[in-house]
Structure formats: C-alpha cells, structure tokens
C-alpha cells in the first residue's frame, strides 16, 4: 500500500462540501445579518454568503476606496491565527470582522471571515473623523454604518463558536471519508494487480488454458 495516502494532507476545498455546507451557512447569515466567507490556506475565496452590503457600497464611492478595501482584504486573509482562537480585526473604515481558523488535527487549513459589522459602541464623532479622512459624505457614511449589524461581543463569540463547530464537523467527517475511500481504492488496485499476476502465472503454467483464453480473446 502506498504509505503516502496515510500522510496525505487535504486542501480545504476538498474537505468542504460547499453545496451542502452552503445552505446552513446562508441561513445562518440571513438570520444574524452578517456576511460569512471562507478562504483556503492560500487566501483563495471558497465561499461567500454574498449580497451587496450598503456600507461597502458607500465606502466604494470614496476616493481612496481601493486603498481602504485592499488593506482590509489583506488583513483578513493574512492575519496570523494561532490554535483555535478567533482574531478580531478593526478595519480602517471602522467596521469590525472576526476571523476564525479552520484546523484539522492542529494543522491550519483556512479561515472563516465574519463581517463586516459595527464596532460595538463606536462614537459618531469617530465615524465622522473616518469619513473626513477618506473624504466621504459624513451623514451618508454614518447612516450606512448604522445599517451594519451590531452584535454584542458575546453574540459574536456565540456565532463564531457555532461556525467553528459546523466547519470542524464537516472537515473531520470529510477527511475520514476521503481517507477511507483512498485506502479502499489502494487496496482494490493491489487486489487487481495480484489477480492479474496470478492469471499471468496460470497462463504461463498451463498452455492448454492459454490456448483456450487465446481462443476466447478472438471471440470477443
């Protein structure tokens, strides 16, 4: 048996059945009003609950939109994650994100991003300052910001925990399923090779059988 199968490290995309997983995640996103995205280890986006976020549309109109959004995206996919702890990211535009590691047996496979949502308790004066800094209409900016979901830190903890548990279950079950399938295939291939060798051996040892098989071969 090929021992590489035992050491095989699967990529996150192979382990998440996104068609199946997508449904509960979309329902969850609808329920809590917070966007959920999944990235693999290389930073490739695998899943997004989608939807246009009004606040982001307002920020997109800013002069420095590219700079603002790029810096947020960079942070979300490169923020170092340790163990199973979630990281909190405060974007330059004032919105907040939670980033959760997706791990399997201590190996980091990717990350889940929850957000944007309001930075709980942020003052209007701070929002006005941000709007001024990026030359966005202050009233429009604050109004859009207030439409972002505003979960308490405790709620975010619970949502993050729920997400972690769902993804952990998917990753674990699918790793097990894939490993079982791969090992089963390996054994099948070995059986096939062994049978071919046996047949070959038999053909060599009994010329009569060989003639018969040759005869059949012509008939098929």
């Amino acid at each position: 048996m090929n021992e590489v199968v035992l050491e095989k490290k699967f990529e996150l995309g192979e382990l998440l059945d996104l068609r199946v997983l997508g449904e509960p995640l979309r329902n969850l996103a609808d329920m809590i009003g917070i966007q959920i995205r999944i990235y693999d280890l290389a930073g490739k986006e695998l899943f997004d609950t989608g939807g246009e976020i009004h606040f982001c549309q307002v920020v997109h109109q800013a002069d420095m939109e590219d700079q603002i959004c790029r810096s947020v995206r960079e942070k979300l996919i490169t923020q170092p994650l340790t163990g199973s702890s979630a990281a909190q990211i405060l974007a330059v535009c004032g919105s907040r994100y939670t980033v959760l590691p997706i791990t399997h047996q201590f190996d980091l496979l990717g990350r889940v991003v929850l957000g944007p949502y309001q930075d709980h308790g942020i003052a209007d004066s701070r929002l006005s300052a941000i709007a001024a800094q990026y030359r966005i209409d202050s009233a429009k900016f604050i109004s859009a910001y207030k439409k972002l979901p505003n979960p308490s830190p405790e709620q975010i903890k619970k949502i993050a925990r729920f997400n972690s548990k769902i993804l952990d279950a998917f990753v674990f079950i699918n790793t097990k399923r894939l490993l079982t399938s791969l090992m089963h295939l390996e054994l099948m291939m070995q059986s096939k090779d062994r049978i071919f060798k046996e047949v070959e051996k038999e053909m060599q040892s009994t010329p009569e059988d060989q003639r018969e098989i040759e005869k059949y071969k012509k008939m098929f």
């Binding site: 048996m1 047996q105 674990f172 490993l179 090992m183």
Partner: protein
C-alpha cells in the same frame, strides 16, 4: 522516522500500536484520549467497519510546544489486527519511531500473539526499520480475564530481553498511560541521541508529560506500578 521541519519549527514522532486482532489497541488509544489535557490532544480518528473493528487504522495526535517554541507532534496509530490486512499494517508501520505491541494475556491467545509478533518483525524489515534497535514496549493486556499468563512467567520469558513489559487492563485505563509514557520516553531518548534534541530545542520529557496529562489523572500515574520488567527502559528509570 522522526519528521523534522525546521522551517516551521515542527517535529513529528510516530508511535504505532501493533498486535493481534481484538488485543485492545484501539481501546488503548480511546483511553489515552480521555487522559490527555484537552489543550494538547487532537481528535481520535477511527477508520473502522460497522462492527467497530479497525479497518485501516486509528489516528490520534498530540501537540506540545517547547519553551523554545518548537512544536512537538506525536501521532499515535493503531494497525488492523486481522491477518488479511497485512498491506495496511505495512503502510501504517512505515516511518514508525516507536512501537507498542499489545498482546492478549489469555493463554488461548498465545499463538495469535506469536504470529502477530513475527509479522511485526517481518513488516519492520520490509520498511527498513531495525527490529533490534527500534523502541518497542510489550503490553500484556486483559489482565482481568481468566486463564492468563502469570506475571512470573512474563518476567521469566521477557525479563532478560531489551523490551520493557507492562500489564494492563485497557478497558479500565489501567497500565495504558504507563505503557505510553514508557514508549514515548524511549522514543524521545533515541531522537535526543540522534539530534541532540533536548539541548538544541530546550525539550524536557518531564515537562512534556506533566503538560499533556489531564488534571484528573495527574497524581495517579506511576510508571512502576504496571511495569513487569524494565528491559532497556531500566537506564531511564529514576
């Protein structure tokens, strides 16, 4: 053999639980899982049949960080004991750093133990592993059953060999951690001799065990309690 990834400051040590079918290899891993500190333990992954017999293997990882920031991963595997699964056993044994041979203590299982032990020797050779030097601990499991090989006989038969022997009742968790501690200490000793591991990476086996043990069992472990004969472990006993 031990995998060292210095770029990621990570060392992986592989311990394989070997033995005949139904000797208690998976039970050893299941009990260990309950004994470890949740912070350090991964999840036990069993690839089994519907009747709970190990089909391919069980895998159970443990992770520990040395004060110098080196990540030490222990991967505990079991093999399927059934005779027909020899190809799987060979593959699981590949790259093993240390082995626990789980024998069934019942006299009726002597032949089954012998065949499996011989099979281990053959499969080590196939994997270019040296039977004469690889850390190998023998666990005589199922000490609660009738008609078992007495401790005196085990001492007489195995006491002069290099293999440490332990008695165990894996279903009750007895002798399980002790066997594990012995095989891992032997494994670390080999790695230390080869790579000067303890000095270079500030690794200390005592801290490792103190750290990975769960709170509930911290004061109950005494490696001598279930040891029948120390074999090569005698040199490491305090």
């Amino acid at each position: 053999m031990v995998q060292m990834n210095l770029e990621f400051r990570e060392v992986t040590v592989k311990v394989v639980y070997y033995g005949p079918a139904l000797s208690g290899k998976t039970t050893n891993l299941q009990k260990l899982h309950q004994m470890f500190n949740p912070q350090h333990r991964g999840r036990l992954m069993s690839l089994e049949t519907q009747s709970d017999r190990t089909l391919f293997y069980d895998l159970y990882p443990i992770q520990y960080h040395t004060p110098a920031g080196l990540k030490v991963k222990l991967k505990l595997f079991t093999v399927p004991g059934q005779v027909i699964h020899n190809e799987t056993r060979k593959a699981v044994l590949n790259g093993a750093d240390a082995i626990v041979f789980v024998a069934d203590s019942q006299r009726s299982q002597a032949l089954s133990n012998s065949l499996s032990f011989k099979n281990l020797k053959e499969n080590l050779k196939i994997n270019n592993l040296d039977f004469e030097t690889i850390p190998l601990v023998i666990q005589f499991n199922k000490r609660d059953l009738a008609e078992i090989k007495p401790v005196e006989e085990i001492k007489a038969d195995w006491g002069q060999t290099r293999f440490p022997t332990f008695s165990a009742i894996a279903t009750e968790g007895k002798g399980v951690f002790e066997t594990f501690e012995c095989v891992v200490r032997l494994g670390f000793e080999v790695i230390n001799k080869k790579y000067d591991f303890n000095r270079k990476f500030g690794f200390n086996p005592d801290s490792f065990f103190a750290s990975v043990k769960g709170d509930k069992i911290e004061n109950q472990i005494d490696i001598n309690r279930y040891m029948i004969s120390p074999g090569q472990f005698a040199g490491l006993l305090k």
